[in-house]
Symmetry: C2
Subunit: 561 residues, 2 copies
């Protein structure tokens, strides 16, 4: 298996007749999926998603792929193919279209409806081409065939991209539920046909490659929901992902069977379920869904609320209910169902919500104590089937952290993909398909681009390092006014502190030390404010460290009057 060398340089230009594949996101992380295909000077982009920040990126709203390697080639882009409507596949589109509004978007009906709703918030009306499974479309030199795949959102597609270099297949996100609610399978017959023709490069979802076995069918959840609904004699509140139409469908069905009405709560839930109903993906008996205000008039045993917040997001409805900061007040006997996964990193936030709800007397049903969630990504057992059907000549695991990519590569090798034809790449690494063989050729910029408030890309790693220090240790600021002609202190030192845990009055002890240091440096003829600032930093830093064994940020300002 080939791995990228840590010191890879810029790639040479694409060899004649070769296909270059450059992942700009999603390889080395779960999120911001984006892959650029280049053939004969033209580009095709598959997906353009966002990554949600972890605690290492404090204060950040979203993380985007770095567009800098394609920024001066926007006119070469034939289209952006969107495999499905999840944020980690479409969330970056508004930011790319800001740079060039008329790049066509290609996707299924639901996917386009979701991205159009999002683009409306950014006041962008995109050019779109709706496609469906079985359809074949030419975008410049890229001959694209779309194949249905099953995932945790309806209407997901894989794409087979034929060029003069051969056929590349990108799975998008997929699993292989053999009894999907909507009957829409991952089309293994189509993949078998593509495999017969010859898949030269397969880019395949790695998210669950470490998980042995098979994902249980989505419909198994309905049995559990039925039990919980039957046992509940007060309100039922269900939190789930706002795009998981099939999960919500099962909740709708359970509510209907139990004579309950449903209200959707939360902006994204209301919007997405509106779209899904309108387009026929969510089927709701007439009169079942009511406005949240109308619930107040119904007895508790006829109420179901469906809301967001299953990941413990502090501003979402569920967290606010747990904190008694929402119009819906949890009372003993209410049942709350978290019908969702627990995304790594969110554990503390989710458990905080569960504890809060429990404390108010709710009975909380979640992944940890009932089968109320199945994953949307193929496990190892499914991937083995898939590789045996596709028999790719070259394999490039995508969508995952290193551990997932590596596990997926090993599954491919087990099914007979020659190890030398398996490429574990990472974000920015260019992979060239030439003469039927995929090889790493170089590396382009693919760093994190941070969205924070209105700004995109202004927040730097240095800023985040400062935030981490400020957040862990707080800050001590010291202001001094000096007369630079004499070096004498005219006013101050004035010491303020935030978050250091040191009482501001206690800094009185360091003031004489600063004054002494200034006096000594004045004797030595040092009166430059910049040098005096360094002196303040050292003096205060040492005192705090010696006295409290802590290292707050020291911010000295010496001005001269």
């Amino acid at each position: 298996m080939s791995h990228p060398h840590p010191e890879l340089g810029a790639p040479p230009s694409v060899p004649d007749g070769g296909l270059r594949v450059t992942p700009l996101g999603g390889l080395g992380e779960i999120g911001r999926n984006m892959t650029v295909f280049e053939y004969n000077g033209r580009l095709l982009i598959v997906d353009c998603g966002v990554l949600f920040p972890e605690e290492e990126q404090p204060g950040i709203d979203l993380i985007l792929p770095d567009f800098s390697s394609i920024r001066d080639r926007l006119d070469d882009i034939e289209a952006i193919v969107l495999t499905h409507g999840h944020e980690d596949h479409i969330g970056g589109v508004p930011y790319l279209l800001r740079e060039k509004k008329d790049i066509p978007l290609v996707g299924s009906k639901l996917t386009l409806a979701l991205i159009e709703a999002k683009l409306q918030e950014h006041r962008i009306r995109p050019y779109t081409l709706e496609v469906r499974e079985g359809q074949r479309e030419q975008f410049g030199p890229f001959d694209c065939e779309f194949v249905s795949v099953n995932h945790s959102i309806p209407d997901a597609l894989a794409v087979a991209i034929r060029t003069g270099a051969g056929m590349a297949v990108h799975t998008g996100d997929f699993k292989m539920d053999q009894l999907p609610l909507d009957g829409r399978l991952t089309d293994l017959r189509a993949f078998a046909r593509l495999g017969e023709e010859g898949i030269d490069l397969l880019l395949s979802d790695s998210t669950n490659a470490e998980v042995p076995g098979f994902v249980a069918p989505e419909r198994e959840i309905s049995g559990v929901l039925r039990q919980v609904f039957a046992a509940a004699d007060k309100r039922i509140i269900v939190a789930s992902f706002a795009s998981h139409v099939h999960r919500i469908q099962q909740i709708v069905d359970a509510a209907y069977e139990n004579g309950r009405r449903i209200a959707f709560v939360g902006r994204s839930m209301v919007r997405n379920m509106g779209i899904a109903r309108e387009l026929g993906y969510l089927k709701v008996p007439p009169g079942l869904v009511v406005d949240v205000k109308a619930l107040a008039d119904l007895p508790d045993e006829q109420v179901v609320l469906v809301c967001t917040g299953s990941q413990g997001e502090p501003m979402a409805a569920l967290s606010r209910m747990a904190n008694r900061d929402h119009q819906i007040r949890i009372t003993p006997g209410d049942t709350v169902i978290l019908a969702s996964s627990l995304i790594p990193g969110n554990e503390n936030a989710v458990y905080r919500v569960i504890n809060g709800l429990t404390r108010w007397g709710a009975h909380v049903v979640h992944k940890g104590n009932a089968k109320v969630h199945v994953s949307g990504h193929a496990s190892a057992g499914e991937l083995l089937y898939f590789y045996n059907i596709c028999r790719p000549k070259n394999l490039m695991p995508v969508h995952g952290e290193w551990r997932h990519l590596r596990a997926n590569a090993e599954l491919g090798a087990k099914t007979g993909v020659p190890p030398e034809n398996i490429v574990i790449a990472e974000d920015g690494v260019t992979v060239d398909l030439v003469d039927g063989r995929a090889r790493i050729s170089g590396k382009v910029r693919a760093g994190y681009v941070y969205v924070d408030g209105l700004s995109v890309g202004d927040v730097t790693e240095a800023n985040l390092k400062d935030r981490r220090i400020l957040g862990d240790e707080g800050i001590v600021s010291v202001f001094v006014v000096v007369d630079s002609s004499t070096g004498k202190v005219v006013n101050g030192p004035t010491v303020h502190s935030r978050g250091s845990g040191i009482d501001e009055a206690d800094f009185a002890a360091v003031v004489p030390k600063i004054e002494e240091a200034f006096a000594r440096s004045a004797q030595d003829g040092v009166v430059d404010p910049h040098q005096l600032q360094q002196l303040v930093r050292r003096t205060v830093g040492k005192w705090v460290s010696d006295t409290y064994r802590r290292r707050p940020m020291i911010m000295p300002v010496v001005v001269d009057v």
Copy 2:
């Protein structure tokens, strides 16, 4: 079941002949376990542990129980009984002994050895009484009998406390491995005998009450370790908890069987394994353990390193190996085993380490892909056995977040404990056992006490709020020197920023706005520096919010010359 009312007041004095139980930690969280028993004016403490901070408590080293409710009663304390040697049960002892050095510590041989080593670092030599299972000791009015329990550290004890109010039993942490490595069972025969006599109040470990079924025996791990060891042809690096003697014993045995030598790495691992060997808890064939330096002379296939860092702690050996910041350099073919749990909240840090190790070519075996860990706490199935054997008259779940306490209470109810005799308390809630019935009587202070560097209790919730704002948004400081007689600006405004993601040069745009605001307020006769500071805060805050849609902390300082 009784729950504490949110507006509970201070409890009345303890009724004559009653026993008061006050949990000062461990109820509402996993950690800082501490329970105070009061009878006839005298106190007995069971455990005094620390809690490790989450991301909500940035920069904090440790969280202690709040001792304020017993601070003026230190002379009434008969003893501190330590159930076992884990940090969340003994880590707070040095801080309590700082307030009164001669409170006797009571515990088993290993527990006392571990707390003595810890106290040595704090330069405290404690008074101790070593006890063992079956032993009975009187501490003032408290007649204590010790019962062996099985846990993830050897030599753990439960304690039955007889007073005139009846018998209270505190389990400490326990599970019920029926084939423990050292043959030391949770002594169900003793619990049956106590149950026959009559357990008036049972305080029982809730950590795994939500988990159905039974914990697998610790010894099942050895089969998995054997397989991994047999398959490895280069170095093996095992990360585990530094106190998990039986886990380490199995690694020692596997190393011995495979002709490998072992070195311990990391201060706490070296210290604890030294103690465990010396006292006979860890059995090591002569010559098997070598110094880490001696490993360099051995071929890779004869090497085992046992280190800390299984929770992704950034300064521990394993994280540093993953970052290539350690003398041990991971190379392709090395096997790394994380033989440990994954404590909620540590997921991202642990996965970061696994990804780093994988990237350097290591094969990483962990809880997610192999059975290399079993829990130390009884699951629901075990708790049912336990309650059916003990048949307590009153039950008080301890050691857990709300969801765990509630689940444990429900298990008790299922086995026949009358619901009105089950008390779900939380930290600080006083529970009085009077006339054979446990009732909530009030609430004492039990907030978080933060250890940060050398200081204990100085860091407040307000400081942490400041840290969270600073960490998410950064800070903007504005310094202005005015002549207060005229309100004219003499120097400045000088604007600095850290972590805001806004270029300092860009603040030039807000300087005229501050100057305008000052000019207007001078016209209105407002020249007080404090009022001018508020003006700066509003002006800069509004400008940043309008321009960048962000809310950094604004720190204005207006001084007067």
